[in-house]
Structure formats: structure tokens, C-alpha cells
């Protein structure tokens, strides 16, 4: 309470956003950012489940090197479809919108002391646009499938007989939802901060979401036009990306990665924001180097636009461009290193408690360190020529995307669960899930580094028998991860149904969202708070 002068605890615990209005329709037509966040959560967790099933199928198919798969239905084209759906669902439907749409929507206004986001109706609209996009993309499951991988590389995406037009239309629509969400967050952060809540006092999670939103605004439109051009290419044959008509497929890759490289920071930056909150709270210590972490988020966002060519070192890009992109990519490592060191120093002379959310944060640090360091390998041109498009890359980005983003995501769910629903999720179940996810993750993806070094290319249905033992270890690991996430799901459902009642601030955190009741009232705070001190004043 030290950083808020007005008393914000409310005696009327009965009135909160969950019971403010009743009925399904009140949910579907709500403009309350908290309810929209819950609706996002339900949809995204559903998509995550589906994407996860595809992941398990992909790993299952790779258990054997040859044609004899565990299930005769899995032929090469079915495998390619599984692999594509896994990528498209996980990237466009789960990880890109995941943290901003759920936690950003719920927490950003509360952390700023605002009553709602700047444009509440736009917020609802972007949810439905997102659902529409997801529905369009999902319709390809019944209308011709999709087998291009999530990258839609031309000319394959122009030539394949699968329904690429629908898929890119879906991704385009979801991109629009992403733009609108980002726009909403930027204006909210600029305009709706509570009195006294200066940019130097907003929590680091808000900084992360803010930096993310900037990337969403600046990068997504280019993806939009690229995807539209693929559609135009297939229907009209405009020729911009089709080599048969004079186009340059490498230009497509430039356009695609101009979005998709910053997009990996759309994914990881919010996760870093969550980890900043978790580590500070569970070390009960002020964050080390607030300014450095905040600015490094912006630095990563800015530099992320200048490094996309490191996906294209061997793609027929010129040698000069390769070296140029390589040196800039190295620079991304600096702000990332700053963040890692600052988190670890935050624990120094703190009071560290390993509850489930903190375990996930530790898991993030562990896995992200490995993911980040291998990223440096891939950024150096000479090494990447060998590793490009092998399992080394697969392992690297899963360490960052799953080990980084999903660990932080799950940690965030356990951390803010009491704030969302006013109930505690089971800590025991949470810890069990962490053990399975963490060990399973390393069992799955560490062997893939070795496979990559040995030269196994990615997106292979059949592979050389020499790679079989490591692939089998990897597949077994994927079952462990699957089980771990199931346990986490059980913990969430159990918490919803039978969780014990949570107080306003069960973890003893200092940021603004914990100063209101759990769950928060309809307008977030009974009286608009006045902020007088920073977000991490653990004195």
C-alpha cells in the first residue's frame, strides 16, 4: 500500500467484474477489458490445446526414421499438414496474441490506474476480428488443408494445391486484430495513466507491452500486404513474388521477415515483462536497474526491425547484406544480456520464495539463457551456414518460444490467477506441472541441438536412421511436456471450482493491480488512485 495514497480496498467485495452483470450475452457484448481478457484466455487456451495436439502428432510421427509410422494415416502430406497447422496455430493464434491479449488486456489498465483501455469497443471488436481470423484459418481444415508451413514461402505457396488463400486471409485478419490491440495499448499507456503515474513509475510489464505494441503497429501492416499479395498471386498471378512471372521469391522473404522477425519480439517481450514482475515479487526486492530494463525493451523493439536478414543468410541474399544483418543481430544480444543480468541481480540479497509462479520464472531464466546463447551462434554468418534450417534452429526457437514465452505465460497464469478469479490455484499441482514441463522440455529439445549439429534438416518426414535414437528421446520428452501442461490445466480448473478464497494481495506484491480487491470491481478502483512512488518499493 505504500505507493498509493488513496485507500483503494473496497468493502463491497461482492461487486466485482465477474458478477457485475449476469448472463452469456453480458459476456459476449461486454466492453470491460477484464472480461475481454477472460474471453481471450478461453479461446487462446483452446487453440493452445489444439496446437499442442498437433505438436504431439508431429513428434509421434518422428519416432521412427522411416515410413512405418505409429499410425498408418500419417503419410508425408498428412505430416506436412500437421507441421503447418502446429506452426500456424502456435504462432498466429497462441503466442503472438497470447500474453498481450490476456494479461495485457486485463492488467495494463489496472497497472496504470485507469478504468478501462482507451477504446473499449475497439477492444471487443478486435477480439471478434481475432476469432473471425481464427475461424477462417481453421476452415482450411475442412476446405483443402494447408501444407506450406507457417512461413508461406513462395513459390511453394503459389504452387501447392492446398487452400493457401484462406489461410493467409485468416492470418491477415488476425494480424488486424493484433494491430488494433496494439494501438489501443499505446494510447492507453500515453493517455490514461492515473495521476502521478509517470512513465518512470509504470511497472515493467507495462513497458514490455508498450514496446510490443509499437512493434505490432509498425510490423504487422507489412505482413498484411505480403499475405494479400500471396492471395493476389494465386488468384490473379500478379507476379511480384512468382519467379515464373518475373517476381523475386527472396523479396518475399524480405517482406515476410520484416514482420516475422520483430514478431518473435512481439512474443518474447511481454514474457520478459511478466518475468520482471515475478522475480521482483518473489524476491520481495526492488527490481535492479528499472530504467535499464525498461529502455532495453525499447532498444530490442527498435533493433528488431534491422535484423530480419539473419533468417536469409543462405537464401540467395547477397554476401554484403548477410554480413550487415549479422553485425546488427549481434547488437540485439546486448539489451538481452542486460535484462538477464538485471533479473539475476534482483535476487541478490533478496528474500526468494519458490512458489509455482517463481518456479516458472526460474525455468524461464534457465531456458532463455540457453535459447539466447544459441541465438548468438545462429547470428554469426559462418556458423549459421551449417545450422540454417536444421534441427538446431528448431531447438533454438523452441527454447525461446516455449521455454521462454510459454514458461512465462504459465507462470503469469498462476501468479495472476487470484487476481483474475479471486481464488488460489493449487500450488502443489502447479509445482508438479512445472517439474514435468521443465524436465520434459529439456528432454525434448536438448537432443535437437545435437541433431542439428549432426546435420538433420527440419521439416523432414523421414530421416536418416542414424538420427533415430535422439529423435526417440525427443518424442518421449514431448509426452512429458504434454502431461505437464495437462496437470497445469487441471490445477487451473481445480482452482476455478474449488480454489480457496484469495485476498487482495496474496503474494505481497507492490504493483498497482494488487492494491484493488480480487477480483477487481467493474471500474478497477473504487476511487482513482494517486501514485506517489515507483512500482517496486520493497523497503
Amino acid at each position: 500500500m505504500s505507493n498509493v495514497t488513496h485507500a483503494t480496498h473496497t468493502a463491497t467485495e461482492n461487486d466485482n467484474y465477474l458478477n457485475h452483470e449476469k448472463g452469456i450475452w453480458s459476456w459476449l457484448s461486454t466492453v470491460d477489458h477484464k472480461r475481454i481478457a477472460i474471453m481471450y484466455m478461453v479461446s487462446i487456451l483452446t487453440f493452445f490445446l489444439i496446437g499442442g495436439i498437433f505438436a504431439l502428432l508431429v513428434r509421434g510421427a518422428l519416432f521412427n526414421s522411416g515410413e512405418n509410422k505409429f499410425w498408418s494415416y500419417i503419410t508425408p502430406d498428412v505430416y506436412n499438414q500437421f507441421m503447418s497447422y502446429h506452426g500456424i496455430i502456435m504462432v498466429f493464434m497462441v503466442i503472438v496474441p497470447g500474453i498481450p491479449a490476456i494479461f495485457g488486456n486485463f492488467l495494463l489498465p489496472v497497472m496504470l490506474g485507469a478504468k478501462d483501455v482507451a477504446f473499449p469497443r475497439l477492444n471487443l471488436a478486435s477480439y471478434y476480428i481475432y476469432l473471425l481470423g481464427a475461424a477462417i484459418a481453421a476452415s482450411t481444415l475442412f476446405l483443402g488443408k494447408i501444407d506450406t508451413g507457417w512461413t508461406f514461402y513462395t513459390p511453394y505457396s503459389i504452387k501447392t494445391s492446398t487452400s493457401v488463400v484462406l489461410a493467409v486471409l485468416g492470418a491477415f485478419t488476425m494480424g488486424m486484430a493484433s494491430i488494433l490491440t496494439g494501438l489501443n495499448f499505446i494510447v492507453t499507456t500515453h493517455k490514461l495513466r492515473a495521476p502521478g503515474q509517470t512513465m518512470n513509475k509504470i511497472p515493467l510489464f507495462v513497458w514490455a507491452i508498450y514496446a510490443t505494441s509499437i512493434i505490432q503497429i509498425l510490423a504487422t501492416p507489412v505482413l498484411g500486404i505480403t499475405l494479400l499479395l500471396i492471395g493476389a498471386e494465386r488468384t490473379l498471378g500478379v507476379g511480384i513474388f512468382d519467379p515464373n512471372l518475373g517476381g523475386d521469391p527472396v523479396l518475399f522473404q524480405h517482406f515476410f521477415w520484416f514482420y516475422s522477425h520483430p514478431a518473435v519480439y512481439i512474443m518474447i517481450l511481454p514474457a520478459m515483462g511478466i518475468v520482471s514482475e515475478l522475480i521482483s515479487t518473489f524476491s520481495r526486492k526492488t527490481i535492479f536497474g528499472y530504467t535499464a530494463i525498461a529502455y532495453s525493451s525499447l532498444a530490442i523493439a527498435a533493433v528488431s526491425f534491422l535484423v530480419w536478414g539473419h533468417h536469409m543468410f543462405v537464401s540467395g541474399q547477397s554476401e554484403f547484406a548477410g554480413i550487415l544483418f549479422s553485425v546488427i543481430t549481434m547488437l540485439v544480444g546486448v539489451p538481452t544480456a542486460i535484462k538477464l543480468f538485471n533479473w539475476i541481480s534482483t535476487m541478490y540479497r533478496g528474500s526468494v520464495r519458490l512458489d509455482t509462479p517463481m518456479l516458472y520464472a526460474i525455468g524461464f531464466l534457465f531456458l532463455f539463457t540457453i535459447g539466447g546463447l544459441t541465438g548468438v551462434w545462429l547470428a554469426s554468418t559462418g556458423m549459421d551456414v551449417h545450422f540454417h534450417d536444421t534441427y538446431f534452429v528448431v531447438a533454438h526457437f523452441h527454447y525461446v518460444m516455449v521455454g521462454g514465452v510459454l514458461m512465462a505465460f504459465t507462470g503469469g497464469i498462476f501468479f495472476w490467477f487470484p487476481k483474475f478469479f479471486g481464488k488460489m490455484a493449487s500450488d502443489t499441482l502447479g509445482r508438479i506441472s512445472w517439474v514435468f514441463v521443465f524436465t520434459g522440455f529439456n528432454v525434448t529439445f536438448f537432443p535437437q541441438f545435437i541433431l542439428g549439429a549432426m546435420g538433420m534438416p527440419r521439416r523432414y518426414f523421414e530421416y536418416h536412421p542414424a538420427y533415430e535414437p535422439l529423435n526417440q528421446i525427443s518424442t518421449v520428452g514431448s509426452w512429458l511436456i504434454g502431461f505437464g501442461f495437462l496437470v497445469a490445466l487441471v490445477a487451473i480448473i481445480h482452482g476455478l471450482l474449488a480454489g480457496e478464497k484469495a485476498g487482495a494481495n496474496p503474494w505481497g506484491s507492490k504493483t498497482l493491480e494488487w492494491q484493488t480487491s480480487s477480483p477487481p470491481p467493474h471500474d478497477n478502483f473504487p476511487i482513482t488512485p494517486t501514485v506517489t512512488a515507483g512500482p517496486y518499493e520493497y523497503r
Binding site: 500515453h190 495513466r193 495521476p195 509517470t198 507489412v222 523479396l251 529502455y295 533493433v303 554484403f320 550487415l324
Partner: protein, 200 residues
């Protein structure tokens, strides 16, 4: 730390932006002008928007030993405040809610709109007329120059950007900035590709 981070960021982006141009061997004056421009822009934003001088004065004034620099800086800050028309625009963004009460919106008189319309029509005539004459490669340059001037008028008056706050100008400018990055880096690849010679 703030300054260190900011300047390192700044140097990083300088390197990023100018390396492709150095690679092309573009005229050094262009690079120097651009570099000076960006430096000036950054200094401006540091001094005016972030109030570096203001903070420095505040931090050092009550520190006991007042430096001889302080009075000079105070004068400078006063001058900046006078230019920047205090109480408007940027103040809002830095103090969040509660400071947004600033009178009526600026209304541009019709005469200005008519003037802009005439300029735009004139610009169109010039563009079409110039295109009939063959200046070689200069045709594109002239056409783009005229188009940019026209666009500037639309932005400044029709879209009221001239009277808008700095943040909106920065937001809009950033769109063009990132577009330049897309062009520069795609071109840095496409126009430096080695040609492959087949011997049979």
C-alpha cells in the same frame, strides 16, 4: 544509466542506418547532413522533451555547492520554454491524466484551406507538365519531389498536423522512417548480389 542506454541505442541505430549507404558509396555530404540532422533531433528531444537541463538544474541546485554553470543553463532553459510555448501538447504526455484541459481546438480559417487547394492543383499541373518533357532519370526525382511537397501540404493543413502535438507528428513520421528501413535493407541485398557466370 538512462543516458548511457539512450546514447548506445542511438549509436546502434546510426550504425544500422548508415552502413548500407556507406556500402553503396553514396555521396559523403548526404551522410554527414543526415547524421548532423539526426544528432540535432536527438539533442532537441533530450533537452526539450525530456527536460535534461531542467532536471540537471533541479538535481544540482539544492546539492549545496552550486556550480557556475547553473545560471547559464537556467537562461537557456528559459529561452527553450519560451520557444516551446509551455502548457501545451507535450506536457500532457508527460504528466498523464489531469493536465489535459487546454482550451479550444485550433480552427484553421477557410482561406488557408482554399490556398492549399490551389497549391495542390498547381502541383498536379506541374507534375503532368514536367512529365511531358524528358529529363531522363530526373523525371522520377522531380515527380517525387512535387508529390512530397503536395503531401506535406495535405499533412500540415488538411490533416492539421502543423497545429497538432509533437507526439502525433513523431508517430506519423515513424511510419515513413520504418518504410525507409524496409527499402534500404531490401535494396542493400538486391543491388549487391553477385552475378553468377555460367561457363557452359
Amino acid at each position: 544509466m538512462e543516458l548511457v542506454v539512450q546514447y548506445s541505442l542511438y549509436i546502434i541505430s546510426m550504425v544500422c542506418i548508415f552502413v548500407p549507404f556507406f556500402g553503396f558509396g553514396m555521396a559523403p555530404p548526404t551522410v554527414i547532413t543526415a547524421a548532423v540532422g539526426v544528432f540535432a533531433g536527438n539533442a532537441y528531444s533530450l533537452i526539450v522533451q525530456q527536460g535534461i537541463i531542467k532536471n540537471f538544474i533541479k538535481d544540482n541546485k539544492d546539492g549545496g555547492k552550486s556550480s557556475p554553470l547553473i545560471p547559464v543553463l537556467e537562461e537557456a532553459q528559459k529561452a527553450i520554454d519560451a520557444i516551446e510555448n509551455p502548457g501545451l501538447a507535450m506536457k500532457n504526455d508527460h504528466h498523464g491524466e489531469g493536465h489535459n484541459e487546454h482550451g479550444e481546438h485550433h480552427i484553421i480559417p477557410i482561406s488557408v484551406y482554399v490556398g492549399v487547394l490551389l497549391i495542390l492543383l498547381l502541383g498536379t499541373v506541374i507534375t503532368v507538365a514536367v512529365a511531358q518533357v524528358d529529363f531522363g532519370a530526373m523525371n522520377t526525382v522531380i515527380a517525387m519531389l512535387v508529390a512530397t511537397i503536395k503531401a506535406g501540404f495535405v499533412l500540415a493543413f488538411f490533416m492539421h498536423l502543423k497545429y497538432d502535438n509533437l507526439l502525433n507528428r513523431v508517430i506519423f513520421g515513424s511510419g515513413f522512417f520504418f518504410l525507409m528501413l524496409l527499402i534500404a535493407f531490401s535494396a542493400a541485398d538486391i543491388f549487391t548480389r553477385a552475378s553468377v557466370v555460367k561457363s557452359f
